[in-house]
Every structure is written in C-alpha cells, then in structure tokens.
Point group: none
DNA sequence: TTCTGCAAATCGGTCTGACCAATATGGGGA
DNA sequence: TCCCCATATTGGTCAGACCGATTTGCAGAA
C-alpha cells in the first residue's frame, strides 16, 4: 500500500503525513506523546492504514521536527498498545489494533448486524457499571444535557425527520463510553455505536422510534441509566443499560435470541 | 548521599539491587527488556517497595552495564505499565501512581496497558458466557488440547524460559474468543490478547508464573473455565473467567487499588 | 532467461556526550 | 524563625556515531 512519505509525489516534504499535536493537554516534558498522538491521528485519518510502513525513524524525526530519541520513545509507546509493530532492520508497521480504526477496513462494518448489537449488549452494561461512581459531575452534566437536547428534539421531530434524534440518542451512548475512563473499552464501544450511524442502520432504528411515545420511552430509559450511574450503583446501571439495549434489540430483530453460529468464521491470527 | 531507596543497612556498592536478566527468551535486539525485567524482579523480590525511589538513570546504567538510553527505554516501558512513575527533576519511583486520571479529549493515548487488561476483565467473561452451550465438540477438543500442551510446557520450562508457556496460555484465550460465535466480540478479544504477546508484556506476565506452582494454578483455572463452558453453565463460565483474569491482574499490577471503577465494582460483587 | 548468492543500502538498537528544564536542597538574609 | 535564592541533582531532549539484522539489487551461474 505504498504509504511512505512522498517519494514518488512531486510535492515533497510539504505533505503533512504526521503532524505533532500542539495541544496543551500534553505535558511539556512528555513530548513523545505529541508525536505518538500525531501518528495516531494519521492512522485515524486514513493517511496510514494497517500494514503500511511508517517513514523511518530519522525521517519521522525530520517531519515532526524532533530528535530521533523522541520518535523512538513514541514508537515504543505505540508498540505497547499494538498500534505499530517495529521490526529491526525492516521498519515500523501499522498494526491492526489502533484507537480510531477506519471504518472502511474495519471488521465491524462487515459483521452481522445482530453480532454488533449483541456485542453492545455485552459490553455497554459493563461500561455503565464502570461509569457508576466513576464519572465526574461535569460528565454527568454533559450526559444530562444530551438527554435533554434529545428529548426536545424528540418532541419536535416528525416521523419523517428522526435523523437528529437518533444521532443525539447514539451520542449519549458514545459519551458514556468516553466517560468510563477506560480508553480501550471507550473506543471499542464508540466504534460499535458509530456503526449504527450508518444510513442503513438509521432506517432500521427509525422503525422503533416512529411513535412519539416510543421516543419518550427511550428517553426515559436513558434517564434511568444516568440516574443509576449518578447514584453510584454499578449493578443497577448495568441492569438498566442491559434492559435498554435488550428492548432495542427485540424491537429490531424481534424477541428471538437464538445463537446458531451463523456468523462463525474462523480467522487465522497473523 | 547514597539516596537509594528503602535500604537501612549501609550496604556495599556491590549489592545487586537490579540485575539484568540473561534469559534466552528475551530477544537480543531488545536489551531494554532485560533491564525492565531486572527492575521488575527487584520489585517482586522486595528489594524495591512501592514509593521507593530508584537509583537515578545514570546510576542504573552503571549498575546494569548498559547505556542510559537503554535504561530510559526500560523506564519508559515500565511507566506505561504503571509500574513506576517518573518525575522530572526528582527521580523514578515505584508504584505510587498518578492520583487522578487524565481525561481523554480527542487524544486517545492516555489509555494505559492496565486499560487493556481491564477491558479483558470486562469482555472475556461475557465471551465465556456466550461460549457456554454454544461451542462445538471440536472446539472443546481443541481448547482442551491447548491446555494440555500448555501444562506439559509448564512442567518442562524453567523460570528463565517461559515464553512458550505464556504464548500457549494466551492462545487459549484467543481460541475461546474465536469460538464464541460473535465475530465482533471475537475479533475485539483477539486483538486485546494479541497485544499481550508483545515481548514487553511477556516480561511483565512472566512475573506471576515464575513459580511452577503458579503455573499449575493457572492451568487449573483454565480447566475450570473450560469445564464450565462445556457444562453449558454460562453464569459459572463467566464467573470463572472473571476470577482468572482478576487474579492475573492483581498479580501483575498488585492488589493496590487505582482504578475506582474496578475496585468499587469488585467490592460490590459480594 | 531464470535462479542463486553476495554485497551494498536501509533501518532499528545502542552507545556516548552534551545541554536544557524542572525539582530538590541548603545556606544566607530579613 | 522563616523565607528566598543560588546551586546541585535528575529527568528530557538532542546530536552524531557505530553495530547488527534485514532488505534490496545486481552480477554471475545454471
């Protein structure tokens, strides 16, 4: 996949394959984090794909305007997460596990819809459980704001204009995942939720919120989850989330829960 | 001056506070792993206790007979695992970890290896639950074969050659994930497990299977999980997997509580 | 022409030495 | 006694160099 920085293209050394983050949320004495974040951003933006070889360390140092030492620190950190794989004498390659995987190459997209929802049904209750007693007041406020906005939209929207309502509703789930404090779980959940933003899913989802009463019911379930989280009762939060997703599942796929291994496909690792 | 941590006795300068491992399971081109392993061993042996300050980098380089660069790589890796905390201008300290987690904005890098293990702790029990009553006899056979081979390797291996044992042990988890029938969960779990195949993870993991008895215990836990899965008892399978991973986590990161979510939840789970 | 084998180029791993910034320490002055 | 500042300590970064492993490409053999 020819990902090395413009050796072939005429527009050399002006292409921002990797840009160092300037954000203030990175401590000044952890410069390698900025470089690592830049590489992650490049992957997330699709400028680097799994299997691609990164520019060599010396080139990266030039691009990011840091020393090779700092680049190596960044690569070492990324290697620990499986984001990249470093092969001596060969180069540094993008691995399969990285925080913001592109949807195009994601297994998520070509998975059975039912598997997606079932995965959410197993993971999100755990996320809610972690959130309980672990979220900050500010995050509670943000989540409540999302529900309020969603409710207002739900009352306003017609049956033919549910896009915004659905989007905000999903944002509640993503936001809660981000609030759980575990970056890995948060990212995984966000991926699952993001997929349901696909137009095809929107059509499916809109089925069960056409009725204003159904929208109100969904809002109520979100509020119940948030209340449980706020109270610090992890068990209750988990149960509420499970109930919420189960009702979602049953309204989409019906009440049948049979698992017959339809989606089974054994994949070789490496 | 001698500010080396936690020693009351005026020991001589030849005391092996940190010794570099000579094990063959550490690739020659990753010397920093040997240093990291030496520091981990010192902590495990009690020569270094949480809160203690390590010798400074230049001194460590002298002790381990490597360059400061290599020492820094080792410390960076250990810091990412939360084993040590590096404070600029002050020193490198064991264990006393960051008081509050930095919240992720769009920067996803603040997820630590502990997040990976915690994610497994939440997802894999669900995987085991799904597996129960859902796996085929052939898959059961394969899983049992993995455990058997792992056990044979565990009895054969010495304390310095645990690479194969660890790898086979992890393969059990990957194989079970692939057997659960949900492609999304299987893929996610496999990724998490694959990351721990990294040499650095192997070094950390080897801490808790150095003792032959510990290896036997781990094998027994795997058998318990498989038995529960085979019996079709999803609840038991989930519990066994959770117990297994919890013991793994505590033996790696210690029982000290750092993640509110986890510890709170575990307290609550009667 | 195709294949094999060797040598040069490439690339990561490590070492050395230096300088900077943050912190810790200790002594002197109010 | 307490505070402030100069200084020592320590980690963070940079630069340049060398080594070993891998890759690549070309020359020679089949």
């Amino acid at each position: 996949m020819e990902a090395i920085a413009g050796d072939d293209a005429p527009n050399t050394d002006t292409e921002p394959l990797v840009v160092v983050a300037e954000g203030d949320d990175i401590p000044a004495h952890r410069r390698y984090l900025a470089v690592a974040d830049g590489i992650l951003a490049a992957i997330a933006a699709g400028r680097l794909s799994p299997g691609d070889r990164l520019p060599n360390e010396r080139e990266l140092a030039r691009i990011c305007d840091v020393s090779r030492t700092t680049v190596r620190d960044a690569l070492l950190a990324l290697e620990l997460f499986g984001v990249v794989e470093v092969r001596p004498g060969s180069g540094c390659y993008v691995g399969s596990l990285h925080p913001a995987r592109r949807r195009a190459s994601s297994v998520v997209l070509d998975s059975v819809p039912r598997d997606l929802l079932e995965a959410r049904l197993h993971v999100e209750p755990e996320v809610a459980r972690i959130c309980a007693g672990n979220v900050s007041p500010e995050e509670i406020r943000r989540l409540r704001g999302l529900i309020d906005a969603c409710e207002a939209e739900g009352e306003r929207a017609s049956a033919d204009d549910l896009g915004t309502f659905l989007k905000m509703s999903q944002e509640f789930h993503s936001e809660m995942a981000l609030s759980c404090g575990n970056g890995v779980l948060a990212d995984f959940t966000s991926q699952l939720v993001d997929v349901t933003a696909h137009p095809l899913w929107q059509v499916v989802n809109s089925m069960h919120v056409r009725d204003p009463e159904a929208r109100a019911s969904q809002i109520a379930e979100h509020r119940a989850i948030l209340a449980a989280v706020e109270s610090g009762d992890g068990e209750l939060a988990s149960a509420q989330m499970r109930r919420h997703l189960a009702s979602l599942e049953s309204s989409i796929f019906g009440s049948g829960r049979r698992r017959d291994g339809i989606s089974r496909q054994r994949r070789r690792s490496r």
